[in-house]
């Protein structure tokens, strides 16, 4: 692969994946990063079973697809690199210079610029996924973690866990231009589809801030209450918004529940019991299923979105963290 002329590479890749697709009859697959096993589990969404487990770098956390879903980028935090996996044969084809301890990242709509949060160094590193060059390093707050890029590509957002801010990076200049102070230990940011609203979870604060993108001010703050669970244990981490604008799903960490929120009124509609210490979530293509990674119980919960019910839990590796579903 490596010795092929550069121009030929994408062609071979697409040929390979085409060959693979014809075999697999288009079943959706979920990729799960297992933080303490240094592996990725693959789940077949038809059978809801683990079909394969792949060795990757140390302490894999954030994972993300390239836009054509031919590649999976993996934050291998303790290997201090972002690995690029070729999804047609699951081989690692490159290691990107990510800066130290990459935890989460976001891919720009241009499919090239990867914005990586370097948790140990209070930096965001911008890497070109084609040339593998570091384009910029931007100083942010202590322990940056959450990363998101606005649908129009204008903003890259990073949350810093100890500084308690959402940092606004202008992607044209790669300069930090503003900060929004949120509650303690912000973990994750997520734009809505339109790109005018951002949801930022604060793990220790126990809240989710809804931020208006135009003013960069908090317009609403969500709190949660579950009977029989101490408020301190309700610790929002992952946030996932449905494309139709109806729902927001908030993973509540050690509360072992996912909150279902009306994304228009910001009211909590329901709490779904999942596995222990729920981290992150992803939808399948038609958004009828939502998968959650449950760190302590080492499994993945499958939520039927229409019925708002957990229909199965699937054992994966130790401390599953990130999840992405490929159509």
């Amino acid at each position: 692969m490596k010795c092929l002329p550069k121009i030929l590479q994408p062609l071979t890749l697409s040929l390979l994946s085409a060959a693979l697709f014809s075999h697999q009859a288009m079943a959706e697959t979920a990729y799960i990063s297992n933080e303490k096993d240094n592996t990725i589990s693959i789940i077949d969404l038809d059978t809801l079973e683990v079909t394969d487990t792949l060795e990757v770098g140390e302490r894999p956390r954030g994972i993300i697809f390239s836009h054509d879903r031919s590649k999976l980028y993996i934050c291998a935090s303790d290997s201090d690199t972002v690995q690029v996996m070729n999804l047609s044969d699951h081989s690692i084809i490159a290691q990107l210079p990510s800066g130290e301890d990459p935890e989460q990242f976001a891919l720009h709509p241009d499919d090239r610029r990867l914005y990586i949060a370097n948790e140990d160094d209070a930096l965001v590193t911008v890497v070109d996924t084609q040339t593998h060059e570091v384009l910029a390093q931007i100083d942010v707050g202590v322990e940056p973690e959450g990363m998101a890029i606005s649908p129009d590509g204008k903003w890259a957002l990073s949350t810093s866990e100890t500084t308690n801010m959402v940092h606004w990076i202008d992607t044209e200049t790669n300069q930090l231009v503003d900060n929004t102070l949120v509650d303690q230990r912000p973990r994750h940011v997520e734009f809505n589809k339109k790109g005018d609203i951002v949801w930022a979870s604060s793990e220790i604060g126990g809240t989710v801030s809804v931020i208006d993108v135009a003013s960069r001010q908090i317009s609403h703050k969500l709190t949660f209450k579950i009977k029989g669970i101490h408020p301190d244990k309700i610790q929002p981490v992952g946030v996932k918004l449905s494309d139709d604008g109806r729902y927001a799903f908030i993973a509540l960490g050690p509360a072992n529940h996912v909150a279902v929120v009306d994304a228009k009124t910001y009211e909590v509609i329901d709490y779904l019991l999942v596995g222990r210490r729920v981290w992150h979530m992803d939808f399948n293509a038609d958004q009828s299923r939502l998968l959650t990674t449950n760190g302590i119980s080492g499994d993945v919960s499958v939520i039927d979105v229409e019925k708002m019910k957990v229909i199965k839990s699937i054992k994966v590796g130790r401390y599953p963290w990130g999840v992405r579903i490929k159509p």
């Binding site: 322990e143 810093s160 866990e161 220790i204 604060g205």
Partner: protein, 393 residues
């Protein structure tokens, strides 16, 4: 004309400096420690790092300044290790004269009390990041003072909860004869009572034991009493306690100042993002972060959070905010931390550690409290006579 010009210049100058002040807030913090000598001990101690506490405060400062950069705040830290108790007040006096109002200390109770007398008229805030004494949280309440280090009672209550949960209901208590050992033993006895544990016997390890035999040979006989489930040791400086494990008459676990140890912080704490704090610390100081470092770090971070939220460095405003229920600190212990309004004590989970792993982190499930289960550790409101507040007298 000329005078007018000068006046104008002076006016604009002062206006300018005012706005500069508003734009770039300068916050000065002083960290002072005094390490009294421990006296001769039986075991070959692994020495405590000289920079204990200092490095924790410095790391907290770095964290504050990274945040402060975005808010136009700048924090500076003055650090001094006093050679003598007298020097503590000399150094502090100088700082207070220079206008410093935020003090963090690693001092024994007496020196802390003296410093409190000196600093209160200046309206300074003091963080106790060194003294575990229970009296400071119950009887000898110090105004303007907050405690980031847990009290002994918090430590031993954590152990008591665990012991109860594991059904280790009979304790053999062995203590040294130093005042700290006696205080730790008192705390253990209080915790035993609180969590329904029985002390089958209380013994003092004294130097007049026949030392013609080694401690290893002496201890099995020394611990030959009525049967117990757990040996609890009160030997803070580690004189004989290190030899208790594996040398008890009955093959039973050991806990307290040695063995399974309740602490404010230890390298084995890695959940809840603590791995990040640990690796930041190790990268900067090439050693493990300990309880004294953690208490200093938490104090500096408390100041940082309070300044960020109140947008002022005024001592009175900060103290009242920190000691209110609005304050919250994310401090890598799995939940937000705040201060007990009556005693100024930082509520916090207590890790129970052995040298290479975390065993539990009380409060444990099932130990209930009407307000917060964190108050199942240490002196709760009705048990304390303290009502700390901010004064300038």
């Amino acid at each position: 004309m000329r005078t007018l010009k000068i006046l104008l210049w002076a006016l604009t100058g002062s206006l300018f400096s005012l706005s500069a002040l508003a734009n770039n807030q300068e916050i000065r913090i002083g960290y002072i420690a005094y390490h009294p000598h421990q006296g001769p001990v039986l075991s070959n101690l692994i020495p405590e790092p000289e920079d204990r506490g200092f490095s924790g405060a410095e790391l907290g400062l770095k964290d504050n300044n990274t945040t402060g950069r975005f808010l136009k705040q700048h924090y500076t830290l003055l650090s001094e290790l006093a050679e003598t108790p007298e020097q503590v007040n000399q150094i502090a006096q100088q700082w207070l004269e220079d206008g410093l109002r935020l003090l963090i200390t690693n001092l024994p109770k007496q020196e802390l009390t003296e410093l409190n007398k000196l600093a209160t008229p200046y309206g300074a805030i003091i963080f106790n990041a060194g003294s575990y004494e229970d009296e400071l949280r119950t009887e000898e309440c110090l105004s303007n003072t907050l405690h980031t280090i847990p009290s002994r009672a918090m430590l031993t209550d954590a152990l008591g909860q665990w012991s109860n949960a594991r059904r280790l209901k009979r304790w053999l208590l062995i203590k040294g004869s130093e005042p700290e050992d006696l205080a730790y033993a008192e705390a253990l006895k209080r915790s035993a009572k609180r969590f329904g544990l029985k002390i089958v016997e209380e013994k003092t390890w004294s130097f007049d034991t026949d030392l013609r035999r080694t401690a290893q040979r002496e201890l099995p006989l020394f611990t030959q009493t009525d049967e117990y489930d757990l040996v609890v040791v009160a030997d803070e400086r580690g004189d004989f306690g290190e030899y208790v494990m594996y040398n008890t008459w009955y093959p039973r676990p050991v806990a307290g100042t040695q063995g399974l140890t309740p602490v404010a912080w230890h390298r084995v704490v890695e959940q809840w993002g603590a791995a990040q704090l640990q690796s930041r610390f190790e990268k900067n100081y090439q050693r493990w972060m300990n309880s004294i470092d953690y208490a200093a770090w938490a104090a500096v971070r408390t100041i940082g959070e309070a300044v960020t939220q109140t947008k002022t460095s005024d001592a009175e405003t900060l103290f009242n905010f920190i000691n209110s229920d609005q304050f919250q600190l994310a401090a890598f212990k799995g939940r937000k931390l705040n201060y007990r309004s009556w005693s100024g004590q930082l509520r916090q989970p207590i890790p129970l550690v052995q040298p290479r792993s975390l065993v539990a982190q009380p409060p444990l499930e099932g130990f209930l409290h009407p307000v917060t289960d964190l108050d199942t550790l240490g002196f709760d409101k009705p048990e304390s006579n303290c009502k700390v507040s901010y004064t300038v007298n």
